[in-house]
Structure formats: C-alpha cells, structure tokens
C-alpha cells in the first residue's frame, strides 16, 4: 500500500497554523521527494477567525486535497477543535493546547490524545509566542514519525527569516523533546 497521510492543523487566525502546515508539505516535497498539498481555509478576518490547514502527503499525485480521513489533528483553539475534528479517523493522533482546548471523554476514547500548553511554552520557555507554530511542527514530527526530523527542520530553515532562525530552532527542538516526553509518559 502506497504511503498516504492526512493532517489538519486548526486554530484561530494569527497563530501560524497555515505556515506550520506549509512547512510540513514543503518538507515532504523538497526533502522526502513525495507529493504533498496544503489547503488553507480561513475567514474574512485577518486575525481571530477559525482557520485550518489541510495537509496530505502521498507517494502518488493528490487530486482531492481536503483532508477527509485525518491521521493527525492539531487544534489550538476550542471552537475550531469542535468545528473541524469531524473528519478525524478512529485511532488518529490528536494534539491540543491544554490551556485552550478541553477534550471530551468520548473523544479520548476514540483518539490517541496528547495535551500540552503549546502557546504558553512558546511564550515563556522559548521566549516568543510567535514560535508556537514551530514548536507544534516539532511535536508533529516526533508524534507522527512520517518524515525524518532533519528534513522537517530543513523546511523550517527555508521558511524562517534568518534573524529568527536560532529562536525557531530552539522552539523546534523543544517541541520534539516535549513530544518524546509525552510519548514516554504513555509508555510509547
């Protein structure tokens, strides 16, 4: 069976989820020689509206690019979590910001749920809230294991302004370490 993986990054406008999705797709295309798509959905508001980025990675050309069978779902906002969780497959990996999203018990029963205060960590431990999306990218890479972390970071390097590279590298590595810790807590 050819490799096919669907992700959705959901949140509110301004959190950087569209860019995070683009980085994942770019890593797959440029550094893993796969097919990938990223489709953003947003509202007319510049900031504050519900947004999602659907990312599909495949060995084969992708025609329908909306994620309809989601293997990995990231949500950084309660409203968008509720709005966009519907296409998530049973057994999928779900990552949420624990400070912003409350996961109902029936969802925990269906999905492999990881919770962490992503935005707060970016703000106080990495040192800049704008790195929350790169922290998410690091966590996504470690939790999904769909690509090498080196290749994902190469895509981060390609996108991030040089002046912010060091900061984002810190965020990325912290994201990977946090995900490893969360997995270990689950015995994975």
């Amino acid at each position: 069976m050819a490799f096919h993986y669907e992700l959705r990054f959901a949140g509110i406008g301004g959190q950087g989820n569209m860019l995070a999705g683009a980085i994942i797709a770019e890593a797959a295309i440029f550094f893993e020689n796969k097919y990938a798509t990223q489709v953003p959905t947003y509202t007319s508001q510049v900031r504050g509206g519900p947004t999602k980025a659907d990312i599909i990675i495949s060995d084969e050309p992708i025609y329908f690019a909306e994620s309809t069978h989601i293997n990995f779902f990231l949500a950084l906002d309660q409203r968008t979590y509720n709005l966009y969780k519907g296409d998530t497959l049973d057994g999928a990996i779900v990552l949420v910001d624990s400070g912003l999203v409350e996961v109902p018990d029936e969802d925990r029963a269906k999905w492999d749920v990881y919770e962490y205060p992503i935005i707060r960590t970016a703000k106080y431990e990495v040192g800049n809230v704008i790195t929350a999306n790169i922290l998410s990218v690091g966590m996504t890479g470690e939790l999904t294991q769909i690509m090498s972390l080196d290749n994902i970071f190469k895509a981060v390097e390609k996108r991030v302004p040089p002046a912010f590279l060091e900061l984002n590298e810190k965020a990325f590595k912290m994201g990977v370490d946090i995900a490893k810790k969360l997995k270990a807590e689950k015995g994975k």
Binding site: V39, Y63, F64, E66
Partner: protein
C-alpha cells in the same frame, strides 16, 4: 527534467501569463484572487512589463482592454463581485475584437457572498454576463499543472481569435499549495496575434474580405505605425460605426462563427474511464478532482463509473455531451453551485439520458463520498 516546486493556483496563473507573453496586468485586489496581483506586482517589472493597480475593477478592465488595443497581451483578474463590474469592458473587448484574458477565481455569491470560500457559481456569468449576442471562450482547469497550461492556452486562443477568454478557477485551486513540475518554457507553444503585412494606409482592423475572419492586429512594436479606429458600436471594416443591415448582420454572425467555426481547435475535454461505464459523472474544474476520486473508489467497489470533464467549458461541448446522452443510460451532473451547466447538459442530451445531480452551494468543496453515495443511490 524540471525541478519540483511548490506553488498555488494564483501563482501558477501569474507565472503562466508571463510565460505566455503577457506584459500588462491591471486589476483591483479581491479575495481569493489577490495573490495574482501580489505576485505580478513583483514579476511584471522584472520582465519589463506593466503592472497597475487601479482605483477599481471597471477602470482596471478598461485599461487591460486599452493595453490590448495598443498591442500588449493583457490580463485582469478578480472574483465574482469584481467580475460583475468588469462586464462592460469585457463586452467592449468582444465588440472591438481584442484579445483579453480574464481570470475569475470563483467564490460564493451573489454579491459579496463568501469571500474566502469556494464556488463554481459564475459559469453562466462567464457565458452571458455581458449584454448582447456574443460568444465567449472559457477554460476551467482541474489541477495545479493544468492551471498553468490552460492559462497559456487561454492567451493563445485570445490572440488567435481576437477575443476575451476566461480562466475559471476557484478559492480552493487558488490557494492550494502543491507540488508542480513546470514544463520547460522552450517547449511551450506561444501564439501571437497575426501582424499586418500591408502598408499602414491599406490596413483596416476588420477587413475580413481581405484578411479572413480574424484580421491581423498590430502588436506593441507595430502599434505606432498603424492608425486605426475601434469603438463599442457595430462597425464596418474600417472600425467606424455602421447601421447598415447587411454589414451589422455579417459582423454579428462572424463574431460568433470565428469561435464556433473553429471549435475543433478550441474544444478540450477528457473522457476518464468511460469505455465500459454504467454511469457517467459530468464535472469540471476543481470539482472534477472530487469526481475523479469518486470514480476510482467506485471502481474499487465494483461500480463501473466514468467521468466526462470539459476543460474548455465555453463553448459548451454540445456534440460530445449529446453523444454521451445517446450511448449511456445514467449521468450525474456535479458542480459547486445549484445547477448551471446542468441546463446545458439537459439541453444537449435532449432527454436521452437519466440525469441526477450532486450540487452544493455551501462554501465548501463537494466530497468524493457525496458523489459516491449518489452513484449507489441511482444504480
């Protein structure tokens, strides 16, 4: 072998326009088309072209028509609300017989509708948006690569037939970032308007007796040597107004037959897995991607489905659709609107085929599963 790149539909329209020789862009930004002016505002100066953001859509489309008159390959882009405003200028280009490429990145409507969301509800606007008897060419690409190649073809047809040509994309295709490997520019067929070979004093812009049904039109290098008149009024061969019955009638008919008479050159469509199909899906543009996935999934489930996909949507592929009506039993028409090409399909198939629909005007794409469910229902 070209290198894999990541681009979205709006960037691909822009790059293809430049590759096709477009050197004049005028527009007014509107979601979901705004990446086209954003991209071209950077690229046009790099290639020695002109980029102008005007005060509104009416002025920008008029400027694009004017630039075409002055010999430039020109383009404008917008979405439904802006395309409504451009209709007057598009009609002027029809009457003056000037090449013009109009990109409509379709979003929900009517009026300002759903600025950031997908629709295919401007198909009939493309066909009949401007007043008066006229013919129009419109293409609707399905994929990123096809967005590039169809943009090139749109410019070629505009130049060859001296006519406005629409490129109909939508909010999904516009913002879909994906892998593309662009063709080597040296392999592209680029068509330029035929140049007059007669001395300037013998040139008339509509002299069909002398030059054939699509007379030559000076390009930007030759424009200053040739003085000629054009107007929105019905015209004689010189470009000056006439109300002569025979002249007007011949002009009106030729403006249509210069396109319908060359349909073999203009038409473009795909038969996908149709040979043994029990059921035919009619779909176009991005919605054809959903239909394609539905056809593949149906076949895995033992349903012999196929798809007919017009790529040139206007003129409508009457002959092909009529044939399908005669040779197949069931058809599903699917489009991201409440039924527009459906009218054309019904007209062309003349009741010879059982037609069902998967239509949706909700600002979100139709999913392959919806088409698959309908297939199971009708079989």
């Amino acid at each position: 072998m070209s290198k894999a790149q990541i681009m979205n539909g709006n960037e691909l329209v822009s790059e293809a326009a430049i590759a096709a020789g477009c050197r004049f862009y005028a527009g007014y930004p509107i979601t979901p088309s705004s990446e086209i002016p954003e991209h071209l505002s950077k690229r046009m100066p790099e290639v020695g072209g002109v980029f102008v953001q005007f005060e509104d859509e009416i002025a920008s489309c008029m400027a694009a028509v004017g630039a075409s008159y002055a010999g430039y390959k020109s383009m404008t882009a917008s979405s439904g609300p802006g395309i409504s405003l451009k209709q007057e200028a598009i009609g002027l280009a029809c009457m003056m017989e000037l090449p013009l490429v109009v990109v409509n990145v379709m979003r929900g409507g009517p009026s300002t509708g759903l600025p950031t969301r997908v629709s295919q509800a401007d198909l009939m606007q493309a066909r009949w948006g401007t007043h008066g008897d006229h013919m129009i060419i419109a293409v609707a690409p399905e994929t990123l690569l096809e967005t590039y190649t169809e943009t090139i073809r749109a410019f070629n047809m505009a130049e060859k037939y001296r006519t406005p040509v629409y490129i109909l994309t939508d909010a999904v295709l516009a913002h879909l970032n994906g892998r593309v490997e662009l063709p080597d520019p040296s392999t592209l067929e680029i068509i330029d308007r035929t140049q007059p070979s007669v001395p300037p004093e013998e040139y008339n812009p509509y002299d069909v007796e002398r030059f054939g049904e699509v007379p030559p039109l000076p390009n930007k290098e030759n424009f200053h040597d040739y003085r000629f008149h054009m107007t929105g009024l019905n015209k004689d061969k010189t470009g000056f107004p006439t109300v002569n019955k025979e002249a007007v009638e011949a002009d009106e008919e030729r403006m249509i037959t210069k396109i319908t008479g060359n349909i073999k050159d203009i038409e473009s469509f795909e038969y996908y897995k149709m040979d043994d199909a029990q059921l035919v899906i009619f779909a176009y543009g991005t919605n054809a991607a959903a239909a394609r996935v539905a056809v593949d999934e149906a076949r895995e489930a033992g349903i012999k489905a196929g798809m007919f996909r017009p790529i040139t949507v206007w003129p409508f592929p009457e002959k092909q659709v009529a044939e399908i009506g005669k040779n197949f039993d069931k058809m599903i028409v699917s489009e991201i609107n409440l039924g527009q090409m459906l009218y054309e399909v019904e007209r062309a198939t003349k009741g010879n085929i059982e037609i069902s629909t998967v239509l949706q005007a909700a600002g979100v794409p139709i999913r392959p599963q919806q088409i698959l469910d309908k297939m199971k229902e009708v079989l």
